[in-house]
């Protein structure tokens, strides 16, 4: 076998950084001094040169997965992060981002001190203040607004990104009493999680360790935020125990590891699944016993699929996948059932049909009987822990969530879930459609400027808000629009709430503080402790003024006792996280100690856990694993697979997955369909200023078909302008045959506009500057792949 080995050739187009001297970051390189980027940093530290060494088990926060890591601390400096082999979820791995977590801690650009805005919004001019000054400023503004709005608590929006302390921040939102909560759901997993939820009763996990046949469609598991639960499959493809069929418009790294790759037209996966279902129903390949026992409305669904004529021949021109391949896949899948998986996916919504697609996938999977069983989709076990203390006072004057209603329901989407619809909310706010005025927002670890389509509109929204408070670790594009900036410490500087991880091998895991917080940063628990100390009582005074129910109550009750019992927000944050965690796991003997010592706990861990080889460990013996927890029973309230959702039909949503002509893929001549995605070396905008990751991939490139690029005179590295009705971005070109002639693709998270980010500032192209704000009709998710763009060499 011939192997080409010129790494320098392969690495062409990457930029070498000049680096020298120093070890830790300089304390004088403050946020405000970022005009002249200080690029001469010695980034890495050789391990083993210090006197004092400490190893601390922690959990990674470079993405959502929370892999277990062991931090090596030498003379107080974190020099290395290694995988912690004891955690069944992450199984002794740490991806490139996990390894680069050290740089999140020592990023010279990180937020160091509380700040108050001095310049225009977006300009990034701030003055350093004390924590007390920041809290006083927030209190003054908040009280003024709430007084003017007569204690309508919903005048404030609360939003948060995903993370272990998101719940801590959410308790603040609940105690504050607003109805406006927006989190990452509607720009992330909302439609897939909900569709599996209403169909199977839960969003299941995939037993990729034992599956024999896997359809990996629209899921780029080798690249997109490398997820520990999907690594097993890459050890078994290519004739090594499992066959993986990759369905993706692009030839991804996942396609390279698959046994078969089929290039599908973007947004037409629903037609593909409907055709697979047709074959299975028509040829009666499904698991009849399972269907008999666990399906609701099977006959209705069967006749719906058959009578609509969703044949492979029908699907061929829609999907661009040949009919004979659809037949082949349907038959092979069912031949391997129940050890066959149509991977549910864990990505944001791409097309307007996404909810229906996920429903169709869930039902197709269920037809195989591969539910709650080894080698199929599994619900798994879970270790119970106690929740955290929260406070939910009733504010009579607080109005309900800011949504636009119609006679049939909501104007923007059929269902408004807990996390809300970010796009619909923002657009209603800008268009003055809110039922009352929203004037301020608290934003935790969230970057709306870069995380959702149509950056211009988000900037407008942030400008319109009278008070924007950002709690974050980095001076993101959103932080640039903040009135008050509160610096949170990074994940390596704090203990977070202990978390339970369900699955075939359930466990508890805890993020332990590795080093003390740098500068004046604090964990969010302590930030809220300080903030509520200032804010809680004055807000209660506003309530007293306007809330007649409270006034009535106070006629009979002692004010101090009443306040303390119902309205005192400070009490939620009076304990340190370590204390709260010990309490949360007190029902499990030895858990608190194990979580501190190993970072991981599960019952009988001391008996079960053992190293099998240098690379492999046993967490649970095979017979103790939670492959099946209900003998195949779906976890819906009815205990059945729900084929037909009557309550959805009443909201104008198809009760059964149905193909609509509007879902068809088409691109006007001369334009391109824009696709976005994730990468193994970057998570989201939050990792775009990480110097070590930047070193692996200095900027993002737009994939454009090689032949098309040639026609247009675009060569590798040429700058092109990508434009849509939303806006423009400039990015370098990567001509390749891995993409279709009428499509383009680039990685999300680049092209930051915050000049306080040395490496991310104006580096590469920003997808959300271009993606149009298309709201998915069921949950109001942002549909990310519905935008056509023009490309011009600049």
């Amino acid at each position: 076998m011939q192997v080409e080995l010129s790494r320098r050739k392969f690495l062409q187009g990457t930029v070498a950084l000049s680096v020298a001297g120093g070890s830790a970051i300089s304390a004088t390189n403050l946020f405000a001094g970022a005009d002249t980027p200080e690029k001469k940093l010695s980034i890495t530290t050789k391990t083993g040169t210090a006197k004092e060494v400490k190893l601390v088990p922690t959990l990674c926060e470079m993405c959502v997965n929370k892999c277990a890591a062991i931090a090596r601390v030498e003379d107080g400096i974190v020099t290395k992060l290694d995988p912690n082999p004891m955690f069944p979820k992450s199984k002794n791995m740490l991806c490139p981002r996990g390894n680069a977590g050290i740089q999140a801690l020592y990023d010279p650009d990180r937020l160091k001190y509380p700040m108050i805005r001095t310049g225009e919004k977006g300009e990034g001019k701030f003055k350093r203040v004390t924590w007390d000054e920041a809290f006083r400023y927030i209190t003054e503004k908040t009280v003024k607004i709430l007084d003017e709005e007569e204690d309508n608590r919903s005048t404030f929006l609360f939003c948060a990104g995903e993370g272990m302390a998101e719940h801590t921040f959410q308790t603040f939102y609940q105690a504050f009493g607003s109805s406006n909560w927006l989190n990452h759901s509607s720009i992330c997993l909302q439609t897939v999680a909900s569709a599996y939820g209403v169909t199977l009763g839960a969003y299941p996990q995939s037993d990729l360790e034992n599956a024999e046949y896997i359809i990996m469609a629209g899921a780029n598991r080798a690249e997109a935020i490398v997820t520990p639960d999907t690594m097993d499959i890459f050890k078994r493809t290519k004739g090594r125990g499992a066959k993986m069929v990759c369905i993706d418009p692009r030839f991804t790294n996942t396609a390279a590891k698959a046994d078969q790759w089929l290039a599908i037209n973007p947004g037409t996966d629903l037609a593909f699944v409907l055709a697979l279902t047709y074959v299975v129903l028509d040829e009666e390949l499904y698991d009849k016993a399972y269907v008999e026992k666990y399906f609701n409305d099977f006959e209705t669904y069967r006749s719906h699929i058959l009578s609509n004529g969703y044949t492979p021949e029908w699907a061929e021109p829609i999907t661009n996948i040949r009919a004979k391949e659809i037949y082949q896949i349907a038959r092979e899948f069912m031949a391997h059932a129940p050890k066959a998986i149509y991977y549910p996916g864990r990505r944001s919504t791409f097309a307007k049909s996404d909810f229906q697609l996920r429903r169709a996938m869930a039902i197709f999977q269920a037809l195989s009987g591969g539910i709650d069983t080894k080698g199929g989709l599994v619900f798994g076990g879970k270790i119970e822990i106690e929740g955290h203390e929260s406070l939910m006072p009733l504010y009579d004057k607080a109005k309900e969530r800011g949504v636009v209603k119609t006679e049939a329901g909501y104007a923007d989407c059929a269902v408004v879930s807990g996390g809300g619809s970010w796009l619909a909310w923002r657009n209603n706010f800008l268009e003055g459609k809110m039922p009352y005025s929203v004037r301020g927002m608290f934003c935790y670890k969230h970057n709306p400027m870069q995380n959702m389509p149509n950056t211009k509109k988000t900037a407008e929204m942030l400008k319109k808000m009278e008070l924007v408070v950002c709690i974050d670790t980095m001076p993101s594009d959103t932080v640039m629009y903040a009135d008050v900036v509160l610096p949170e410490c990074t994940y390596l500087e704090r203990t977070d709430p202990v978390k339970t991880f369900g699955g075939t091998e359930p466990a508890l895991a805890q993020r332990n503080k590795v080093v003390e917080p740098m500068f004046e940063s604090k964990p969010v628990n302590e930030i809220l402790r300080g903030l509520t100390k200032h804010l809680s009582r004055p807000l209660f005074e506003v309530t007293k003024k306007y809330d007649t129910e409270v006034q009535d109550a106070l006629r009979e009750e002692d004010e101090e006792a009443y306040y303390e019992e119902e309205f005192d927000m400070t009490k939620m944050y009076s304990h340190d996280q370590e204390v709260l965690n010990t309490h949360a796991v007190h029902a499990h003997e030895g858990a608190a100690e194990a979580l501190k010592k190993y970072g991981v706990y599960y019952p009988k861990m001391d008996q079960y856990y053992k190293q099998l080889s240098a690379n492999e460990h046993q967490y649970y013996p095979e017979k103790e694993k939670f492959y099946s927890v209900g003998e195949g029973r779906p976890q819906t309230p009815s205990g059945k697979v729900e084929c037909n959702l009557a309550n959805m039909s009443s909201k104008g949503i198809d009760g059964m997955p149905t193909w609509r002509e509007e879902y068809r893929f088409s691109v006007p001549e001369g334009k391109f369909r824009l696709m976005t995605g994730r990468h193994a070396q970057y998570t989201q905008s939050g990792t775009s200023n990480n110097i070590v990751l930047h070193d692996l991939m200095p900027e993002n490139y737009i994939w454009i078909n090689k032949r098309v690029a040639k026609e247009r005179g675009i060569a590798f590295g040429d700058k092109v302008e990508v434009a849509s009705s939303t806006g423009k971005t400039v990015i370098r070109a990567y001509p390749t045959e891995k993409i279709a002639p009428n499509q383009v693709f680039f990685i999300h998270g680049f092209g930051a506009e915050s000049s306080a980010l040395t490496w991310a500032y104006k580096n590469g192209g920003s997808d959300n500057a271009v993606i149009e704000d298309v709201v998915e009709p069921v949950y109001g998710a942002a549909a990310m792949h519905e935008t056509n763009v023009e490309i011009r060499k600049v």
Binding site: V3, E4, L5, S6, R7, R8, F10, L11, A16, S18, V19, A20, I43, T44, T45, K46, T47, G48, L81, D82, P83, N92, M93, L94, C95, P96, G98, N99, A100, A222, E223, V226, M231, F234, K235, K238, R240, F251, N253, A255, A256, K257, A258, W261, A263, A614, N615, E616, A680, Q681, I691, V692, D695, L696, P698, R707, E737, K738, A740, P741
Partner: protein, 187 residues
Amino acid sequence: MARYGMALDYKNCINCKACEVACKEENGILMGADKHRIWVGVKEIKGEYPLLDIVSSSFEPSQCQHCESAPCQEVCPTNATYYDENGVVRVDPDKCILCSYCMNACPYDARYVDDRTMTVDKCNFCSDTRLARGETTTACQATCPTKVRTFGDLDDPESEISILLRTREHFSLKSHLGTKPKLFYLT
């Protein structure tokens, strides 16, 4: 005394580059694309969309081969490149004069210049970091999400690597050059 080698289950590699970062963080390697001790080679895919040759796009994780008959050691005029007691090909920065003969001699392109010391650097199986404090895996092996690598003593018949090489088919890179590499690619 050992004879260290590494087996690579290279079909597992998804080109995530966790190994590259782990190596840089462990060994204090400089930033810069041309400063890698370790890398993943990628080949341009063959064909025209959508008719692409799926096997033409493979990932080749690689690093210094720690040849038993290393061309870089042969050409070094100052004996800066040497075999240590474990058969690991090492560089003594005090002796290196940056003549770069070794860089030209290496058929695997495994060497680069460290701009701080102005000497040639390369993979040393974490000999002066992890192995020096008694650990038994290299940084690249430990971190790998798909567990491509197995590091160990080729002289110990009971070591995991020896068992792997006895039981699995494998090949070496550019074996026709007679360099006797100690990196083995499992098929």
